[in-house]
Amino acid sequence: MSATAVHSLWTTAATAADPISKIDAPKIEYGQLAPTLIVVGAAVIGVLIEAAVPRKSRYYAQMFVATVSLAAAFAAVVALAADGYATTKAGIAAMGALAVDGPALFLQGTILLTALVALFTFAERRLDPMAHGNRVDSFAAQAGAVPGSDAEKRAVKAGFTTTEVFPLLMFAVAGMLVFPAANDLLTLFVALEVFSLPLYLLCALARRKRLMSQEAAVKYFLLGAFASAFTLFGIALLYGYAGSMSYATIAQVVDGTVQDVTPALAGTMGNDALLLVGAALLVMGLLFKVGAVPFHMWTPDVYQGAPTPVTGFMAAATKVAAFGALLRVLYVVLPGLRWDWRPVMWAVAIVTMLAGAIVAITQTDIKRLLAYSSIAHAGFILAGVIAANPEGISSVLFYLAAYSFVTVGAFAVVTLVRDAGGEATHLSRWAGLGRRSPLTAAVFAVFLLAFAGIPLTSGFAGKFAVFKAAAEGGAVPLVVIGVISSAIAAFFYIRVIVLMFFSEPRPEGPTVAVPSPLTMTAIAVGVAVTLVLGVAPQYFLDLAGDAGVFVR
């Protein structure tokens, strides 16, 4: 079977994929790009609100713009999908910069819904006690005020809130929408930076434990900058190899179907060393974003230090976007190299699953525990990525959708359990929570069981889908190791349940704050999606299955 025949399993030829030969007036398909454009527009409006609207009204104005735009963008995604852009009309838009196809639309829809739910947790203002008569959220009163300084006290007293988080969130979402849809390497890189930079900032904005939050942001920024640099270097080498940034052209050069050599690059084109090193560096940058071992070191610190709503958003949406981009790079750009990348990804997946599950056992902080759990889950998803068959794509899409709602919901519950110092994240503080607040503990137990992959939760359906795809793709040992690490991982999820339900509550233990309808909605959506995807996943599996073909 020739290489192209294999790829045609998961890619279809684009109808309008002529290479850019001369500079034309740019032709932009505004309709097809509507989801992204709406979100970018909302982000810009958000910035203007910060400049023009009085401080008292900003929160409401920002909430309104953000909610409406995310909902509108999601509606646009649905409309595009209903119009057939996910299947028959899939194609390349914006002069070859972006793909509008099934995986892109599915992931964009997932990211938008996740962001909408996360937005509610961002906007929550009833959990922290009122400061000087003002309701406050999880974010610092004034980011520029040094922690513990007089300036900070003045800002708190004046009732400042950082409403800039809303436009930052919208910019991050915009970047994430582009990231899995990017169809050339430059767009990929720009999208990477557009969603990373707001996240670095958001991580630093915690109202409580500000130093820890800032430390997390610095770590994230430094390591993220390294990863970006690697990615960029990889892109440069790939350009040197193929003479093009376009996914389709690089893939053709890898396959050897394109022969014309750009004169300026005659010395480097077709040099396999450039291809291998470039691909490795590019994939490395993406693996950093998904938090796969050995590029996971930032995850626990950042998850722990960042304000919990940001952690929830980041853990869910970043993973969706980054896995989307990784899938597209591996399946569209580098299918011809799969005999080279599959063994490496095998090793990465195995180490990621095992390390995530084993290290999580020793954690004593709930946010760090969830961070290591997210690493283990990255490993499970990688098992589906490695399948290298159409089921691989659709199972990963399904898993990402299932996982992101569980994650946002779980972190939303974490924001509720509080004591005098803010959120009580140390595990020992959670002892006996089930006695005190059975409902909260039960909801968190549902999320933990979904993480553990117990049947009738979305986690099980997702895990089964990726393992099935991996087994069909010939990766049976990977499935066995995945199952073993699931068993290990189950141990620490169960440990938290034991702690909540079977331990005596501590007399000075934390209380469960009563949230506003915003957080309640976020949690309720999380539980509902978890159970629906667990009990009746067929519709969503069909959706992911229909969306499982990349355009080239």
Partner: protein
Amino acid sequence: MSFPLLTATAALPAVGAIATAAVPAARRTAAKWLALLFSLATLVLAIVVAVRFDPGGARYQLTESHSWIADFGVRYELGVDGIAVALIALTALLIPFIVLAGWHDADPLETGSRRWRPTQGFFALILAVEAMVILSFEATDVFLFYIFFEAMLIPMYFLIGGFGDRAHEHGEEKAATQRSYAAVKFLLYNLAGGLIMLAAVIGLYVVAGNFSLTEIAEARASGELTMATSTERWLFLGFFFAFAVKAPLWPLHTWLPNAMQESTAPVAVLITAVVDKVGTFAMLRFCLQLFPEASKWATPVILVLALVSIIYGALLAVGQRDIKRLIAYASISHFGFIIMGIFAMTSQGQSGATLYMVNHGISTAVLMLIAGFLISRRGSRLIADYGGVQKVAPVLAGTFLIGGLATLSLPGLAPFVSEFLVLVGTFTRYPVIGIIATFGIVLAALYTLVLYQRTMTGPVRPEVAKMPDLRVREIAVVAPLVVLLIFLGVYPKPVTDIVNPAVKQTMSDVERKDPQPEVEAAK
């Protein structure tokens, strides 16, 4: 479309679980009655299932089939054969007694939070387990079975970890620690088994392309579906491992003594008499049907492990100082007999094993529930703390003796028939193993009679002098079960009639490719 009887049988306790859980905190007595009502209604439906089932008819009856997750090839497929009917009846029969026996086990000691409702939770969880157990007996889709096989761990886990004996020799703090240890051990063992089975389930899908037991079995019979020998063996091992943990088979048994010791007596009965039966049942239904060649390949090893279970469990039972732990090890010994009967691959052996599942359920329930009543009176689980109880509480002692005699398979009581069948069935093909297994009975006599002698006979100890005899509620629990033990001991035909055709079919699945003469030899 006919009335979905099987779905209803499983759905009724599930609805009951939700209804019970929803009862307000102050109305806990209403919750108990509601749970009892639902369990009795389920029993009625189970009886209807047994009556509607025609032993001479098709292999799977009362079937239901609906599409569920087409992407995974999963269907909602239910159907019962004789073995399943017998076990569903056992389950539905035992649950009302378990509910009744555990009437006061989950009353809150102090009224803490108004929203903390342990009583409602306790009975709701029992009904939830019942629903899942019944569904796993009914499922003829491997995936559907797997889901309930796994999901029932969660309510079981909360039952073990959340509710323990009131009286604990080391105080409440230590008791809670030991309980949660037992619950976690139970969950991890079974989850590990289940996840290994998951790998095999995925493997089966890759090989067969769907999960329907009937379709796969047919395709294998017609030669449409062939498996490489090594594939079949690996898949068999994946399935068998999970069932052997659940059953439990030596050396995967160590969670059972902990779980039974720490949970309340009704929950201990639920574990050993109901939930564990899913393991042995699944060996018959899935291991033998799906992987006949591999089953035969593995038989020698499994028989030896079963033999070790019989002897080892019995020996350890002799040495126990804790009443509930003793019964747990006795159960391990009995599960050895059941597994031996299944894998002896003779029709007597398998009929005996199925009958054994039913009888062991009833006899263990009697023994364990009375032990629970005893323990709740004295506040200790240690054998050494008792003595002379028969003078103070003759009814309690008498029924306890009957339960004990049933455990040691006295002729005239139900377990004798099944144990005899298993031993005969094993002997005809594996005489040595049959002979060694007989020593298990001798040891059983030792541990039950010594238990009775130490606790019930001798001088009355001052601590038990004021011990009340069985109350009305407790007699209502014990008496029907004792009657049933005697009835099935004298007249086991109702059960064997239902079971035998199914066993013959299972036999023909396994023996299809190399007929053995042992059935004639046994006649």
